[in-house]
Symmetry: C2
Subunit: 449 residues, 2 copies
């Protein structure tokens, strides 16, 4: 462990520059306007892995954005094969006006490095690559067969990788799959994540007229699509917070999962995020609400004029973006269709209803007693000096369930993120000490496998 | 009448150029970004009136945007005094992507002139100014004492004029007030408007957390402000379309108003606007819904991500812009406060609720038997060859009730707008033949008063 830390500290100035270079790519996969930046980021990453590790790296085309794939040239059949999955794309940056600095010009303030992707997932996949770099530069042979599969569409449903998976099955084959895209347990305590929720998302648009209307001339005559939309969406939950979509809670695995630690402190949550009003269903604990129950969220609603002042308009359309988090055994397509059916059935007659369902993903679970789970836990404990917790995540890594199926691997999620890192929000941040912990945990895991 | 038409036709090429110049000013009063264009538009208009009429024009400062004011230098106590009110500001232009041509570069397609303000109100106030120009260029003395009061904030609540009114009372004094900012009855039939609704508007913002949240990590824990907003706004109406705000229907004048013609054809409305779903309250006619009942409209709703694709966010805030149209005897401030109280009382506990009420306006009514009502009706009938209808408007001219009070004048609204002119919407348009009718009606009205 001493060598691992020493190498990192000696090389920190250079590694930090490399990290900042990675962060500067505007690799937003959800918005086609950034296409060239996503592609440039993939090329840079491939070259970085090729130059600084013993692996052969390549950019693999997919029907979507390319994968950065790397593996050793001569795998040793006696060694354990570990596949590390991550992503080089990032979330969109709006509301841009709330960023305190340029999302793509990393800057350190009060010990935190602020940039889109600082943690999710550029920061976390970068420290895993540094672990491979360490093994090369330390002159010691990698104790495992290592593979990287780093995709460019995790933040927009992993479509390219999903479509490429059937053809890549052979190459991705591994005993273990490590996904460094998760949080630690709390500011001090490390954690491994043995599951995350699935997801399905969709859009709905209500159209009431051919064009926007004057709200005085037409007020009382035309039914306002904004009104039709809020009346429709408000029906999605009953007064106890249960989603009213037919079949929404069907197919939920009934076995009670135990052995996980869940962290939720009402007071701290209030203080850290300023949150007073809690969601979830009546009668369910916060742990259930966050990990064992599906949710339906309105990620965006919009219709009419939202600029400065007032514009007296009845808009032609109003729309909403909706995503559902799913728990084991729930089929994303089935849930997506159920929500769509609800919206179509309950929408006000006379409103034209258009929906679009985006490709979804199943929830996944890892085996808490696998060799990888043990190795990462032990490595994290050695690195931090604190026993490692087992957790589940309320978030989703869309492709993991498919990856597990395609590779036959046992999966473990790890990470040194924290809820206050603002991932998917303005002012995303990470810090160098946590990046170092991540690096050391992965570097040591290679030895323990 | 022959002279009037002849002058217009002979001078049409020049008048049309002048009209286009007026339309090119981006005089959007609601958005402070356009401030210099609003001011430049006022200067241009003053100069135009000064040069082309016998009136003395000036730009009068107000606490908001300036007024363009004009009157004759030597009023004749034996003549009738007529004040013409209009506005040189225009509505915002978004959604800009739906405009088929630049909103501020007027262009004629299929006989319609497309530009923001083409009709509302640059087109309609311009023809009234041309009526004064005609009287100057015809070499005949104006048969009345004429005044113009043209403001720059009608589309954003007339705050400047409202505040300046107490000081301007003396100058604005008139027996009659003509407001050329209305529609004709249908494509053929002229109309005078003897009333319009009042208005009050407000904004409400619900804040659930300090910043946007990841909808997986926080989904089930934090209550989504988008959800709290749709659940709140959906409570504004009952299943029969009645607004649920306490006192919303109080103070409505009980006398049944008669003598007006109302135009509403379900089939034509559907065809023209593509509207299938109608608003209003159960048991009320469309005429009542549009003219004799107050309405509450959601002019804008917005929260979270509304760009391309999906962003899995729980937004920190969600907000709505609301406006209510009011009928005679309703106090805008009282109604605004009642809606605000409803929103504050019904909002989910734990959501921070911020509201802002914008200055409102009373409904107004004119006297159907006034000399001005008779003169405009007769002029319109002579111009079009079709009997003129008396109508009420569902829209609002915020300042008119105050102007009537301050000037002591009897008011008549007139206009050659049509519902299909897309005022307040993309692709606003007007046409030269209707502008000519407006001009001729006003020019002839001067003689008949």
């Amino acid at each position: 462990m001493k060598d691992i830390f020493q190498w990192f500290r000696e090389n920190s100035p250079e590694l930090r520059k490399d990290y900042f270079k990675f962060l500067r790519f505007r690799s937003i996969s959800a918005d086609p306007a950034y296409r060239s930046e996503v592609l440039a980021c993939a090329e840079w990453l491939k070259t970085y892995i090729q130059e600084h590790t013993t692996l052969q790296a390549e950019v693999l085309e997919t029907p979507g954005y390319p994968l950065v794939y790397a593996e050793g040239s001569r795998p040793d059949a006696h060694k354990t094969t570990l596949l590390i999955y991550g992503h080089y794309d990032v979330q969109p940056i709006d509301p841009i006006e709330l960023w305190k600095s340029d999302p793509f010009e990393p800057v350190e303030r009060d010990g935190q490095i602020f940039a889109r992707g600082a943690v999710d997932d550029k920061g976390q996949i970068f420290y895993a690559i540094l672990a491979a770099r360490y093994w090369k530069e330390s002159g010691r042979q990698l104790p495992i067969n290592l593979k990287f599969c780093i995709e460019g569409e995790e933040e927009s449903s992993s479509l390219g990788l999903a479509k490429a998976l059937p053809h890549l099955k052979g190459r991705l084959r591994a005993q273990y799959l490590l996904v460094p895209d998760f949080d630690q347990f709390d500011a001090r305590t490390p954690a491994i994540s043995l599951g995350a929720r699935g997801m399905v998302s969709l859009e709905v648009t209500l159209t009431g007229s051919k064009s926007d209307l004057h709200s005085g001339l037409h007020g009382g005559l035309a039914y306002n699509p904004n009104r039709a939309l809020v009346e429709l969406l408000a029906q999605l939950w009953d007064s106890e917070g249960r989603v009213q979509v037919d079949g929404f809670y069907d197919d939920i695995a009934e076995t009670k999962e135990t052995g996980y630690t869940f962290r939720f402190d009402r007071q701290q949550y209030r203080k850290e995020f300023g949150i007073e009003a809690l969601g979830g269903e009546k009668g369910k604990t916060m742990e259930e609400a966050n990990c064992f129950r599906p949710t339906l969220e309105l990620n965006g609603i919009g219709g009419g004029y939202t600029g400065a002042g007032i514009k007296t308009v009845i808009p032609a359309k109003a729309s909403a973006k909706i995503s559902c988090r799913l728990v084991p055994s729930q089929n994303p397509e089935k849930v997506g269709r159920a929500v769509e059916a609800f919206l179509k059935k309950r929408a006000l007659p006379g409103m034209r209803v258009e929906t679009q369902i985006y490709p979804g993903a199943y929830a996944f679970r890892g085996n808490p007693t696998s060799k990888l789970a043990g190795a990462v836990s032990q490595a994290a404990e050695e690195v931090t000096g604190i026993p490692c917790k087992k957790v589940l995540s309320g978030a989703s890594i869309p492709i993991v369930a498919d990856l597990v199926k395609a590779t036959g691997a046992e999966v473990v999620g790890m990470g040194y993120g924290l809820p206050e890192d603002n991932i998917h929000a303005p002012n995303e941040c990470f810090d160098w000490p946590r990046l170092e912990k991540g690096f050391a945990t992965v570097a040591r895991t290679f030895e323990l496998l």
